[in-house]
Amino acid sequence: MSQTVKKRIFTVVKILVGALLLVIQVYPIFYVITSSMKTTDDFRQLASYALPSHFNIDNYIKVFTTSSMVTYFKNSIIITVGVLVPLLIISFMAGFALSKIKFRGNKKILNFLMLGLMLPFQVALIPLFTIFNNMGILNTYPAVILPQIAFSLSYSIQLFYSFSKFLPDEIIEAAIIDGCTPFRTFIRIVIPMSTNSLLTVATMQGVFTWNDFINAYTFTKSTTMKTVTLGLNDFVGFMGTTDWGATFAAITITVLPTFIFYFITSKSMLSGLTAGAVKG
């Protein structure tokens, strides 16, 4: 077999494999989007894999008119921002300090913080539930936000720790010599040099927080405090009959922000991860 024929076969195989993987990874969301336009009759009469009989946005109208989707969005946005901003600041400071500053007990503190990677979050649910209950802050934003910050710290610090190793010492040194205080150096020099790593951690933790189920499920009680993930169950009726059209429309709406966020940041996320990956 000549070289070119071989190459061509490889190309065809590659395209086939790529397409197969694409179908596996993307089909569910394709199914959701197409099904969100199906009418109740479509669900009853058409085969499950069939496309909707006609273009129809009734399900979307239903989502916004029959459920408090707007409130859920507001809650999810407040919670996601409330988790992300403090989390990024404190985990970046800690990760940076642990990787760049040499001091006694450095390794011990790192290992102590990394224990959190092994602790299952559910362990904290019973104590936190009773503590929050006694403090009267169940069903408030802090009750959902604080545990998520605390339990995301270990992984975020680990990521920032490995990213910070790649920051050139010389530039930080130069800023200090020029009379910058350590805090100003961090704000003015370190943070601007680390946009890729910040975006990487922000994307990962932002998506996790947006999609969080167990915190919101355990620590909130009222409809006014529900997040978008909990709101997805609004269309499951009492008898276990689900309004699938509305559910799929709701999924489409709630997934949209994470898609947009990911599409925008995916490039910086990849370069952030590439920098931090191998040195671990």
């Binding site: 800690a94 500053i101 604080l146 990962m204």
Partner: protein, 293 residues
């Protein structure tokens, strides 16, 4: 730099916020759960100190041990799907020349969908009446598959839940592996080619050994993620049928928040902590030994 940053005040400023929140929520919760585990308590009213009664009951609780077994099976399946398939996806991606960025983004899609949504999607895809997409596809090859039960079938429910969990996060590990693979220095690859290595040999002998630290850290992430996984089993199969797909964490949750046995639930929580620690340290031991060998 060491001088300026190394001062106590500066160090405290950088480390204290993280340490305070970590200790206040993570460490205190675990200690607190340990404290509750010695009581008989329904969440309201008086706590009764009962010593290690909860642990004695736990040791005899066949359902709990079944959930430990389920969790281990679940974890193994997740490691295979997320680490092995994630690595294969990444290798494939690194061989693609055209449209790589778009493929990488699209392969990641399931990761950004919430587990609530994923469970709803899969309960529809796997449904039997009306015939869901998956049964419809399988019935092309074998007509009897049209009526195959997945979620309510005690023989496969656990595997289905583990598969969905593995599937959901595969893209995340793929991206990390891919980032590691493209970070392999070009001269290593070129040296291998000069030595006459074919593509498979380049990966097996050069690239994969080079990214071994990433493989290990991903394994740890998957191990920890699956040992404590909750959402899919709780939402997709509700631990059922019976307790065929009940995991340690869902069992704990139900004991505490549905059966209102906070003390007993806390003792399960402590058992989960111990099991996670043992598995975590054991894995670290094994992977470090592999390093020196």
């Amino acid at each position: 730099m060491q001088k300026a940053f190394g001062r106590k005040k500066v160090l405290l400023m950088f480390l204290l916020p993280a340490l305070v929140i970590y200790v206040l929520f993570v460490v205190v919760s675990v200690v607190w759960a340990g404290f509750y585990s010695f009581f008989d308590w329904s969440g309201v009213g008086e706590k009764t100190f009962i010593g290690i009664q909860n642990y004695l009951q736990l040791a005899k609780d066949a359902t709990f041990w079944a959930t430990v077994g389920h969790t281990l099976i679940y974890t193994v399946i997740c490691v295979v799907i997320q680490v092995l398939c994630g690595l294969l996806f990444a290798i494939f991606l690194s061989r693609v020349t055209k449209g790589r960025a778009i493929l990488q983004t699209l392969y990641y899609v399931p990761v950004v969908i919430s587990s609530v949504a994923i469970c709803q999607i899969f309960s529809k895809l796997l449904s039997v009446t009306p015939t869901g997409v998956i049964n419809a596809v399988f019935s092309v090859f074998n007509p009897s598959m049209a009526t195959m039960e997945w979620i309510s079938n005690s023989h496969v429910a656990l595997y289905v839940a583990a598969f969905v969990e593995g599937y959901k996060y595969l893209g995340l590990y793929m991206v990390i592996f891919y980032a590691a693979l493209i970070g392999v220095p070009k001269d290593l690859e070129e040296a291998a080619i000069v030595d006459g290595a074919n593509v498979a040999q380049q990966y097996w002998n050069v690239k994969i050994p080079y990214i071994k630290p990433v493989i290990i850290s991903n394994c740890i992430l998957v191990l920890n993620g699956s040992l404590r996984s909750f959402d899919i089993s709780y939402l997709l199969t509700s631990g059922g049928p019976g307790n065929a797909s009940e995991l340690m964490s869902t069992y704990m949750y139900k004991q505490a928040f549905s059966s209102m046995k906070y003390g007993y639930g806390s003792s399960i929580a402590m058992a989960i902590v111990v099991i996670c620690m043992i598995v975590g340290f054991a894995f670290r031991r094994v992977s470090e030994r592999g390093d020196t060998a």
